[in-house]
């Protein structure tokens, strides 16, 4: 009788299958549901600039540095004429277009600055030489790419950091520094701080340690604590700031 009853107990196998199905569904919901929810929306960082950094200038400078590939001394003088932009590209373009136009180009020597004029002449001659070289072997573009950063890179820090602004930033950070006990001497620690235009600190890098780990750490904590940093004057924003700190200030 008892055995008969056990046999009669219905649906042992279907129940097991259904229970497995329920749990598989649960696992699927958990895995896919949660992973779907935890997918981050694509973050887009937008930085607002008060002025555009005049893109045409940069673009037209590119053909110009070409001649400067070969002569090693030239990359230095090249950045200096960057501010008076409109004329230079003309030269470069003119020189590229046709040599007979040269006389028209040589009008600008109205400049009183002698050195600049000399440089320009040198550049023109070099462009001519370069043009001839290009005619003979036009496939020389890869090396051209190298000087581009050398010209554009110096053009970025052309905006000098306002010392007053840096002092304000340092003052705010200094207020948050807790000097560790038993600090010997007055060593200098240099930090590189990356910030957003709103002043929020993105990262702090120790450029030069003061030699005292405790002091470095406390300054780093103070920088993070000072976020957001004071805002610069409009147009003075710099993503990376170099800040120097000394214990006795």
């Amino acid at each position: 009788m008892a055995q008969a009853r056990h046999k009669r107990e219905p649906g042992a196998l279907p129940s097991a299958v259904l229970a497995t199905g329920v749990h598989l569904a649960l696992v699927a919901v958990l895995v896919f549901g949660v992973s779907w929810q935890s997918r981050r929306p694509e973050t887009v960082t937008a930085e607002l600039w008060p002025r555009l950094p005049e893109p045409p200038v940069v673009r037209q400078q590119r053909p110009e540095p070409k001649p400067q590939v070969q002569p090693p001394p030239l990359p230095r003088p090249a950045p200096k004429p960057v501010p008076e932009t409109p004329k230079k590209p003309d030269i470069a373009v003119a020189a590229k277009k046709a040599p007979p136009k040269k006389p028209a180009v040589e009008e600008p020597p109205l400049d009183l600055d002698f050195r600049r004029r000399m440089e320009r002449q040198l550049a023109e001659e070099l462009t001519l030489v370069q043009r001839e070289q290009l005619k003979t072997e036009p496939v020389k573009k890869p090396p051209v790419k190298a000087p581009v950063p050398s010209v554009s890179a110096p053009s970025v820090p052309a905006v000098a950091v306002d010392p007053g602004y840096v002092n304000r930033v340092r003052a705010k950070i200094r207020g948050n520094i807790t000097l560790p006990a038993g600090l010997a001497g007055n060593p200098e620690a240099i930090f590189e701080v990356e910030q957003l235009p709103t002043g929020e600190v993105l990262s702090v890098k120790l450029r030069t340690s003061s030699g005292e780990k405790a002091y470095d750490d406390s300054v780093e904590r103070a920088i993070l604590k000072s976020s957001p940093l004071p805002r610069p004057e409009p147009g003075q924003y710099q993503r990376r700031l170099e800040l120097r700190f000394r214990p006795m200030e």
């Binding site: 008969a4 107990e9 649906g11 279907p14 129940s15 229970a19 749990h23 958990l30 990356e194 990262s203």
Partner: protein
């Protein structure tokens, strides 16, 4: 493409935490993992019994209905008893109660010295015994569902509390107390509570439902027993 760009972003800006389920479970502390495994097993068993009881009780209900219809349609008691004996492996609970009572009644009636009250009493006792056995069979595993429903949330809570303790202990080693430092730990700990609740809620619902169904069945069995005793009583006096 998306993960690639994620990886190349500045480290200071994005604290990218992979919060997908598998990594959460994989990184959980052993206690939490053990709790989750236990709860998963318990949940599986409870679902297994839920389905089994569901099938069983539904079948008992239809069989009871069928037998009551057969019984009250006025067919011969002897024929009913014969069919119950012949199909012993497929009879329902109520049919077995009837079979036990009728067998006892017939056995006592064959003895000459039996008086009518003793005949009905014997049949009644036999029916009651079968009834209790059948009720026990119907109610089997319901207590398991009840305890799963009441205990598994606590087990899940234990796992969660343990996981959160773990997460906060890790926080003490960090200079900067950020939410990102504890978030994964708390998330993986909360999974334990989720599994506990997942095991508990269906178990409680099923327990209440099945207990109610079994109660109704037992009521039907008892009223049938009373009515059948009356019929036997009439028959015993008729002879």
């Amino acid at each position: 493409m998306a993960p690639d760009s994620d990886g190349h972003r500045e480290n200071g800006m994005n604290v990218t935490q992979d919060l997908s389920m598998i990594t959460l479970l994989w990184n959980a502390s052993p206690v939490v993992q053990a709790v989750m495994l236990l709860l998963l097993v318990v949940s599986f068993m409870s679902w297994y019994f839920i389905f089994r009881k569901w099938f069983g009780i539904r079948r008992a209900g239809t069989q009871t209905e069928q037998f009551e219809r057969d019984f009250w349609s006025g067919s011969d008691l002897g024929a009913l008893y014969q069919s119950a004996v012949n199909h012993r492996h497929s009879t329902g609970s109520l049919e077995r109660v009837f079979e036990a009572g009728f067998r006892e009644f017939v056995k006592v009636r064959t003895q000459r010295s039996a008086d009518p009250a003793a005949m009905v009493d014997g049949a009644r006792r036999a029916m009651r015994a079968t009834y209790h056995r059948e009720m026990d069979r119907l109610e089997a595993h319901l207590s398991f569902l009840a305890s799963v429903g009441s205990v598994s949330p606590y087990v899940g809570l234990l796992g969660t509390v343990w996981g959160i303790m773990h997460a906060f202990r890790g926080l003490s080693n960090v200079q900067q107390a950020t939410l990102a430092a504890v978030a994964p730990g708390i998330a993986e700990a909360l999974v334990a509570t989720a599994i506990g609740l997942f095991a508990a809620i269906p178990a409680v619902v099923a327990y209440n439902r099945f207990a109610h169904d079994v109660d109704r069945l037992s009521l039907r069995f008892e009223s049938f027993m009373e009515e059948f005793s009356n019929i036997l009583n009439r028959q015993s006096h008729a002879k």
